[in-house]
Symmetry: C2
Subunit: 418 residues, 2 copies
């Protein structure tokens, strides 16, 4: 049997990998729904022959690896390997897209310890590098040289940076309210930047339309099956860094739901392989102004509302991976909660001033959610892990709110002050 | 004999470590010169019993370690260890100050390959974390809770972030032209920020004056012997990541000369231990507007000139470690060169657009220097390594110069454009 195959999330139909990859099929042809301001239908998942993997590979060997280099365990990635090495790449080339150290850090809030996995120090300073790397490596193995993506900023700057590191061309579609530092990051990497006169949802649809016409490879989140797949690497990094003792609860900043879906996918695989006993409860944390998944979790019905929050990276009126993200929460017996913009900024400030980690607002949502859960007495002896997904320097405007400029003091003034 | 001792760079006098550390002596009492706009005299270096280390420890064991965690080889650090662990710290606490992955990346410029060690993804996104971590860990072992520093921005944001991660208080003195993102980074970490009405040299002197009065521990670069010592970790990371095959040339952005000095110190130790055969040639790269070391290298005389360059992090009219930095260049048979602000910005753009790495201007100076050297036919078959020392997002203003805002396009416009 082939190393892996594609499965439709909605109808469970199985697709041969060569067919999908040769034809560049992104969604299930039967279930495919790509409608304006709607979650996607027909998302494809990648599955492996877990029974064979279980026999051939050992948990103990995986645990010996260094986090952040997913190509070390090639049997779990939809890429071609030869003699244990990613075909066509040497170690120094791969080092260019190696993630941050990603070992677990531990901090404490009001006596309750929590763990952090820090993706703010990835190559382009966000979690999105996990998906961009896999998409770009796959593109290179397929002989593709140009990749496009719609983005609120991070996925785009990530794709732009990763593509340049690997010698590919990228084209990025962004909403007009993109934070300046993210726009500049995308441009700096030499990507073509297209700003649409509207929000992320418009950028998403416009990107698909033009990219299909121009035959560019598309990295749009959830749309390209390798985005969920790439993000599953976080599950393996947590597994490796925790020496196999995965936490009980994981708090995840959630917009499109792809980080959540990818994390679940990886944890599900680890359970399938018998390498963990229980999947941690996944807690989606959304901004009040972009809470489609929270509403869907309560009512099982989706209703589009334009998204609006200071946490621009998790603004998504129509979460593209809504259905798989929802299933991930349900199957992990997790939860979906929302936090206000005020709570998000307070969390950003608290994390910076108490733990010395500068997060962008979307990223500090995970702490705001953890804090809310903690104060609702919903965490007892359970171990909690927070995903820190984007660096604070990617959006100075949010930091300006609580860091005012200071009057310079002359030497004489300083002396007087004493 | 004691594990280590302090030696004056100028008079070679040896000082007992307990005396130096109990009395908080920063400079040699005999040679000490701290004058406005002058390099320091009496800088203390830390020396170990290399003959014993050589017998007790093996090169092969050091090469097995992971770069970025200097406390793994405790025999080379002025800290207390117990059962192989840093006394008073567990692994999870140390993980908070663990550096970036710091494996070597390889890129190519006009057919010439070069290596990069990427310090732009350290905890606060700059090389300065190497010194701040060692200073902060030492402070904690000495029972000190407050640390002060003068900084052009990076050393300050580094100390602020590292202190907060470890539960210490910091007070940072900066010049009034500090880039906004760096100011905000310092403030965000909860440090006390003092802006002086002048340049870095004034900030340095003001910090010393007030800190001594208030009895705060001082991290000022070169002044505190642990800054040069902390920066030597880069030499060990290069040694480990290159599997013992250190490069022939290393290009180093240079302001105060402490990175250069620290790097030399580490390489000198590796040679002293017999673990490398030859010290790489160290090439200091300065900005034309802040070129005191270049002038000293030519004339052996120091003359103060106010520093002015777009590369704010390497602006130092009076390089504090001038004399040791100069000796490092001479003993490594290296060089000191200068690049213009235009070359620095061009290098920033080139590195971002071709290698996908966003550097701040001071950091791209190393590439500008490498390029200049290359085009002067001064690099043949020699292997070259560049230090990338600070992340581009620490100073958006420089990136604004070559990344203009883009007009948003409505969906219709985009269609028309096709």
């Amino acid at each position: 049997m082939k190393k892996y195959f594609y499965t439709c999330f909605d109808c469970d139909r199985i697709f041969d990998k060569d067919h999908v990859e040769k034809e560049l099929i992104y969604l299930c042809p039967d279930c495919r729904t790509v409608e304006k301001n709607q979650p996607l239908r027909g998302v494809l998942l990648i599955n492996y022959d877990y029974d064979s993997i279980k026999i051939k590979y050992r948990k103990a060997d995986l645990l010996k690896l260094q986090p952040g280099k997913f190509w070390q365990y090639g049997y779990l990635w939809p890429l071609e390997f030869e003699n244990g090495m990613l075909k066509g790449f040497d170690e120094k080339l791969l080092e260019r897209v190696s993630l941050g150290t990603n070992c677990l850090q531990e901090y404490s809030y009001k006596g309750k310890n929590f763990l952090v996995i820090d993706d703010t120090r990835n190559p382009t300073l966000s979690f999105k590098d996990r998906a961009s790397s896999l998409v770009a490596l796959k593109a290179m193995q397929l002989g593709i040289k140009e990749i496009s993506a719609a983005s609120t900023g991070n996925a785009g700057s990530s794709l732009a940076g990763i593509c340049t590191r690997l010698g590919l061309k990228s084209r990025i579609f962004v909403p007009k309210n993109i934070p300046e530092a993210k726009r500049i990051q995308i441009q700096s990497y030499g990507a073509e930047l297209i700003i649409v006169d509207g929000d992320y949802d418009l950028a998403f649809d416009t990107c698909l339309e033009i990219a299909h016409q121009k035959k560019w490879y598309i990295r749009n989140t959830a749309y390209n099956p390798l985005t969920i797949e790439g993000k599953k690497s976080a599950a393996y990094d947590i597994f490796i860094a925790s020496k196999g003792n995965v936490p009980d609860l994981i708090f995840i900043p959630t917009g499109d739901g792809v980080i959540l879906s990818g994390l679940y996918k990886g944890l599900w695989e680890l359970k399938e392989l018998g390498w963990i006993e229980k999947i941690p409860k996944l807690i989606a944390v959304q901004a009040e102004g972009s809470n489609a998944l929270v509403r869907y979790f309560k009512t099982q019905s989706f209703e589009y509302k334009p998204a609006n929050s200071v946490a621009d990276s998790i603004c998504a009126g129509a979460p593209r991976a809504l259905y798989y993200a929802h299933e991930s929460i349900v199957k992990s017996t997790g939860d979906a909660i929302e936090v206000s913009d005020v709570e998000i900024i307070e969390a950003q400030k608290f994390v910076a001033q108490n733990y010395g980690i500068l997060l962008e607002p979307s990223s500090s949502a995970s702490f705001a959610g953890f804090k809310k859960y903690f104060h609702s007495n919903k965490i007892g002896a359970e171990t909690a892990l927070l995903l820190f997904t984007g660096n604070g320097l990617k959006d100075i405007s949010a930091l300006r709110i609580w860091n005012k400029d200071v009057e310079p003091l002359g030497a004489n003034h300083i002396k007087e002050k004493q």
